[in-house]
Each structure stands twice: as structure tokens, then as C-alpha cells.
């Protein structure tokens, strides 16, 4: 286990060390202590590393992650796991706005709540939230799955493309072109698998499914009030 103390080293040194690891490294387990809200902690990782961040982080922790497993034992600022491609990012606490923004792949797990715009512009990532999510979550989401065990704020899935949203609790309101869809057996199976991967216990049968009505895919004057 490699330990990096951010009270003694800066983020640039931490990321530099993580990026410089050779492909055949045996230094795969890392612990970061005293993050004290630092931004851009463990960003741009490209290897199968296990990075545990002991404390709260600022913006963009584990941004653009590939392959690595990053666990944050605290709360996160904006954009945790933004644009991640693969691997796993887990937040033991709450995440602020834009969690998993434009993520292409991998899984983001937030055990607590997530703020506004969770999963905004998501492009294939799977996001599982143990608590609730804020307004405008999955805005313009293109692909992937957003599973929410708690409630969803206003305008869920506004201007959605082909992402799937599953919510167990209440939805304050749906955004433009987002509709409730039938929860099929395949959906229940998918949600159960996502929850299992995320390590969050919940009954997949209790979730409702939301997706795109696909009415705004092409410009039409009769949709002018939605543009």
C-alpha cells in the first residue's frame, strides 16, 4: 500500500506518481490521506489501481477515470467521475453537482445523496445513487443507466436521449420529452444486476423506469414550446 499525504505533497505530485506507474507495476494499492477538499484528486488514471481517498474532496475527483477503482471515504465536490470511461468510482458520502457528468462508461456509486444535474450528458456510464438526486439530473443524457434509490428532483431527464433512468422514490417532475415507461422483466433484471455491482441493497421491483419519448429528436414547429 502506497500512502500519499496531501498535507505534505500536492495534488500535482500525487497525480504525477499515479500517471507514471508502468503497466507492470506492483504498486496497485494507494491510499490518499488529508485531501482536505483538494480538487482534481486522482484524475486521468489509466490502470487497474485501487485508490482510497480518506476524507472529503473538491471538484472532479477521479475525473476521466479509466480502469481504476477509486473510493472516496467522504463527500465530493462537483463533477466526481466526470467523463469517466471505465473502472469504478465509489463515494461513501454525498456528491455535489454534476456527478458523473458526460461519463462514457464504468460505474459511479454514490452511497449518499447527489446534487443537481447528476448524470448530466451521460454517454454510457452506469450511476447508482443510494440516496436522492437533485434537479435536472440526466439532462441531455445520451446512454447508460441512472439508478436512484431515493427521490429525484425537478425536471428529471430533460431533453433525454437514450439513457435509462430508474427511480425508487418520488419524482418531483419530469423534464421535456422524458416520460415514464413500462418496467419490464428485463429492466428489473438489469436494475438488480446494477444494484448488486454497486453493493447497494434494494428491491429492483420497487423501481419505476423513465426514458425519452423521442418526440424532440427532429425539429418540428409543433414542439416549439419545448425548445
Amino acid at each position: 500500500m502506497q500512502t500519499v499525504d496531501l498535507a505534505a505533497e500536492d495534488v500535482r505530485a500525487l497525480n504525477g506518481r499515479l500517471h507514471a506507474l508502468p503497466a507492470d507495476t506492483n504498486q496497485r494499492a494507494w491510499r490518499v490521506i488529508n485531501p482536505r477538499g483538494a480538487h482534481a484528486v486522482a484524475v486521468g488514471l489509466t490502470q487497474e489501481l485501487e485508490v482510497v481517498v480518506d476524507g472529503h474532496v473538491g471538484y472532479y475527483c477521479a475525473g476521466m477515470n479509466e480502469a481504476a477503482h477509486v473510493e472516496i471515504r467522504g463527500h465530493c465536490g462537483w463533477g466526481v467521475g466526470e467523463n469517466m470511461m471505465s473502472g469504478m468510482v465509489r463515494v461513501a458520502g454525498n456528491a455535489s453537482q454534476s456527478a458523473g457528468a458526460s461519463g462514457h462508461g464504468g460505474m459511479l456509486v454514490i452511497e449518499g445523496d447527489a446534487g443537481h444535474r447528476c448524470g448530466i450528458s451521460m454517454k454510457g456510464i452506469d450511476i447508482v445513487v443510494g440516496g436522492s438526486i437533485g434537479a435536472f439530473s440526466a439532462f441531455m443524457a445520451q446512454a447508460g443507466n441512472l439508478v436512484v434509490c431515493g427521490d429525484a428532483g425537478e425536471n428529471l431527464g430533460d431533453s433525454l436521449y437514450e439513457a435509462d433512468i430508474y427511480v425508487r422514490g418520488a419524482v418531483a417532475s419530469l423534464g421535456a420529452d422524458c416520460v415514464e415507461k413500462e418496467m419490464t422483466a428485463a429492466d428489473r433484471e438489469k436494475v438488480a444486476a446494477l444494484l448488486a455491482r454497486a453493493g447497494i441493497a434494494a428491491d429492483a421491483a420497487a423501481f419505476r423506469r423513465y426514458g425519452s419519448a423521442r418526440t424532440l429528436y427532429n425539429f418540428h414547429v409543433d414542439h416549439a414550446d419545448s425548445y
Binding site: V43, G44, Y59, G63, G79, N83, A143, Y161, Y217, N218
Partner: protein, 440 residues
């Protein structure tokens, strides 16, 4: 029956083109979407003149005395700034909006003349990476095709806040251009009318931008220059905020800048012209004592070496071209005239990039149309054009007694109109009057 001229008096408020647009809107029920840039007459570099050498200034001998054109972009924080042989770069234009052949042509031409090209909404294609020695990778609000691998293999990163044709607006690519390959790169269904986001998904405001730039630097180990591109609306403040946020390079795109598809009302009525945008951006850098420390790239309606020379004299470090580069590749060329007619237009007037039916294969995803542009030939045309622009700028710089094009200065300029004098901050020709400046 003859028309009485007294009864055929045109209306200033409702000329025939306005009437036609009202009736088109009534008929189709959707705003006009089109390509290229503004068509209105604006104060521009045409309204400036350069002062050649005289008794008090010595010119350089053309073709014999050297006038250098190299420029380095990204010297502030990046370990590997971009070293360009000419001060003319190619602006971001997406694969999707442009054909793969056009992107490859641009990359090859830039490599040949020693300058950079830029990706666009939708990500980086293998063709353009292979063809381009120096490639700037755009990080746009849509984040289409954005990935860390391409971020790391880019030579610079450009965070796009806006573009001159539509400051405050997102990209647009109509369904006819969302081919299977484009759809896959953007993770979108085929054939939809794609609306890109106008705001970044994970930051708002200058303080967040500072952190975003920090993240991009961390991911790329502080190697790559980071540009911030803004559409010209409040360039003084935007330039200062970009500098404050940590940009190595600020790119300001005036309203003459082009687009692949945007609402006509946006193109013609939002933003400010390139001339005042450049002057305000230079003022902002001078005010911060960052002029020449953070490099400034100006774009929007640059067409010739004269435009380049004037932009550099006003204080830009380099210029960027988009529409003009496409014209060098054949855009609006008088060939395939029947295909222009099928679009309801003619060479010299076409702005139908949005249709995907480009008669010369530049702004299309149609395989047959794309074949009309041979990347080797296209590269030769664009290379020639870039070389001519550079020679023209050198000609002017030598005449002004400069051994480097970046030695051109505002004192080498005068304006032919009061408007241009005020906007560019240079004297009206034959006077010492700069409108808006205190003469004391």
C-alpha cells in the same frame, strides 16, 4: 399593362428579402438554419490601412531581407507550447459538420506549412490525428467524443465557451449529417437533429473554470497548452476572466466567424464584430500586463494576408481561419453548378452546409459527395492559400520595416471610417483622432 414606377417603390422596412423570409417562416414554421457566417456589412479589417515606410521608417528589401513569421502559443504554463511557423491556424470544425476528406486535407496542409488545426464538436478522428502534426483538441459543452486518450495525444487543449457565430448558443447538426459514423462518435441515435449543449455540464462561471483547467492540466501532467475560446460579446471581461482562470492562450471569435449550422437570427444579431473584439481583448491583456505572455488568437472573417497583418498590428499573436479555409478547399467554387441549383442556390452564395448536400464534398457525410474532394488535392489548395496569406502578410510587414510580422503595431494602422477608428482604436486616416479617446 406596364408598372407605374411610382407604385413600385420598395419599402425600406419590408424589402423583398424580408417579405420572402416572413413568408418562408409562415410556410415552414421553423426558423432559418444555415451555415457560414454573417452576411451583413460590418466594420472590418477592410476599413483599416497600413502605413508603409517613409522618411522616418525604413522598409525591408522584399525577398532578400528576412521577415520572420514564427509564433509560439502557450508559453505561460505548458511544458510543451506549440511552435508554429506561420501565425495562421485553422479553427475548430467538427468531423460531422465537415467530411473526413476535408478534415484530412486541413491536417495535411497545416502539417506542410507548420501550423495547427483544431478538432471540433464530436471528437478527434484518426484521419485528422494522422494528418496533423499539431492538433488542438476541443473540450466543448456537449463533450461529444471527448476522451482522455485523445486529450493526451493532442498537442493543445481548447476549452470552448462559445463561438463568434453564436455566442451563448450550442452546436447544431441536422439529421441528414448524423451518419452512422458520426452518430457512433457522438453516442447519438442516427438521423436526429442534434442540439449540442450551450453550457458545460460540470462547471459554471470563472471560478469553476479555473478548477476545470486545473483538472485538464493534471490529467495531461501540465504538458499541453490550454486555450480558452470565447465568442465575441464581452471580450474585455471574457479575456480577463480566461487569464484569471489560467489560460495559456485566449481565442476570441468575432461575429463574422462561421458555423456549420445555426439559426440565421443568431448569426446576424448576436455578438460583436471581430474588429472591436480584438481591440477589447488586447486592451484586457495590456490592462493585466499579460499581453504577449498569454497569447491571443483572433478569428472571424479573416481572409487575406492583409487581414492577418492588420490583426497582428492590433495586437493579436496569431489568427485563426475557418470559412476561408473551406473556400480554399472548394466551398462555393463554380463547379457542379446543377447541384448548387438543386439546393436553391448558386456558387458564391451557398450557405447550405447544414443540408449535408455540399456540392464540392467539404461539408457533407454523403460518401458520393465526399469523393469530390481529394484530400491530396485539397491539402495542396489549402497549403497554397496559407502560403499566399503568409507571403502577403510578410510583404506588408516588410513595407512597414518589420523583421518579424509580430513587430507590426497599432502605430502602423489608420482607419478609413469613423466607426472602424473607434472600434479598432486607431486614428482616422489623415487625423490624430481616435473616436472615444481623450485627446489630451
Amino acid at each position: 399593362m406596364t408598372i407605374d414606377p411610382r407604385n413600385a417603390r420598395p419599402s425600406a422596412a419590408f424589402p423583398p428579402n424580408v417579405i420572402a423570409e416572413i413568408q418562408r417562416a409562415a410556410d415552414q414554421g421553423i426558423y432559418e438554419i444555415r451555415g457560414l457566417g454573417t452576411k451583413r456589412r460590418l466594420p472590418s479589417f477592410d476599413d483599416l490601412l497600413l502605413l508603409g515606410a517613409s522618411i522616418s521608417r525604413y522598409p525591408l528589401e522584399g525577398y532578400r531581407e528576412k521577415c520572420d513569421t514564427d509564433v509560439v502559443l502557450g508559453t505561460r504554463f505548458a511544458a510543451k507550447p506549440l511552435e508554429l511557423r506561420i501565425p495562421i491556424t485553422i479553427a475548430g470544425m467538427s468531423f460531422g459538420s465537415l467530411s473526413a476528406a476535408a478534415k484530412e486535407s486541413i491536417g495535411r496542409a497545416c502539417t506542410a506549412v507548420g501550423t495547427s488545426s483544431t478538432t471540433g464538436d464530436g471528437g478527434m478522428t484518426e484521419e485528422e490525428r494522422r494528418a496533423s502534426k499539431l492538433l488542438v483538441y476541443q473540450v466543448l459543452p456537449s463533450r461529444y467524443g471527448l476522451n482522455p486518450r485523445d486529450l493526451r495525444r493532442a498537442d493543445a487543449i481548447e476549452v470552448v465557451i462559445g463561438q463568434g457565430a453564436k455566442p451563448g448558443g450550442g452546436g447544431m447538426l441536422l439529421g441528414q449529417k448524423i451518419s452512422p459514423r458520426v452518430a457512433k462518435m457522438r453516442t447519438l441515435p442516427e438521423g436526429i437533429d442534434q442540439r449540442s449543449a450551450c453550457r458545460h455540464p460540470d462547471w459554471t462561471g470563472p471560478d469553476d473554470l479555473t478548477i476545470k483547467i486545473q483538472e485538464l492540466r493534471e490529467i495531461t501532467d501540465w504538458q499541453k497548452p490550454i486555450y480558452v475560446k470565447v465568442g465575441a460579446s464581452r471580450p474585455f471581461f471574457d479575456t480577463q476572466l480566461a487569464v484569471k482562470a489560467g489560460a495559456d492562450v485566449v481565442v476570441v471569435d468575432g461575429m463574422q466567424g462561421g458555423t456549420g449550422a445555426t439559426q440565421d437570427v443568431f448569426i446576424e444579431h448576436v455578438g460583436i464584430p471581430t474588429l472591436p473584439a480584438l481591440r477589447q481583448a488586447v486592451d484586457a491583456l495590456v490592462d493585466l500586463d499579460m499581453h504577449r505572455k498569454v497569447q491571443l488568437v483572433i478569428s472571424g472573417g479573416i481572409r487575406s494576408g492583409a487581414d492577418v497583418a492588420k490583426a497582428l498590428a492590433m495586437g493579436a499573436d496569431a489568427v485563426s481561419i475557418g470559412s476561408a479555409a473551406l473556400m480554399a478547399l472548394g466551398c462555393n467554387k463554380p463547379v457542379q453548378v446543377a447541384d448548387y441549383a438543386a439546393l436553391g442556390t448558386a456558387p458564391g452564395h451557398c450557405h447550405h452546409c447544414h443540408t449535408g448536400r455540399c456540392p464540392v464534398g467539404v461539408t457533407t457525410q454523403d460518401p458520393l459527395l465526399e469523393k469530390r474532394l481529394d484530400p491530396e488535392q485539397g491539402a495542396r489548395w489549402l497549403r497554397n492559400y496559407l502560403s499566399v496569406m503568409t507571403l502577403e502578410a510578410q510583404t506588408i510587414a516588410r513595407a512597414c520595416g518589420k523583421t518579424h510580422v509580430l513587430n507590426l503595431e497599432p502605430e502602423d494602422l489608420v482607419a478609413t471610417t469613423i466607426e472602424a477608428a473607434a472600434m479598432a482604436g486607431v486614428p482616422l486616416a489623415g487625423t490624430s483622432w481616435i473616436p472615444g479617446r481623450d485627446l489630451r
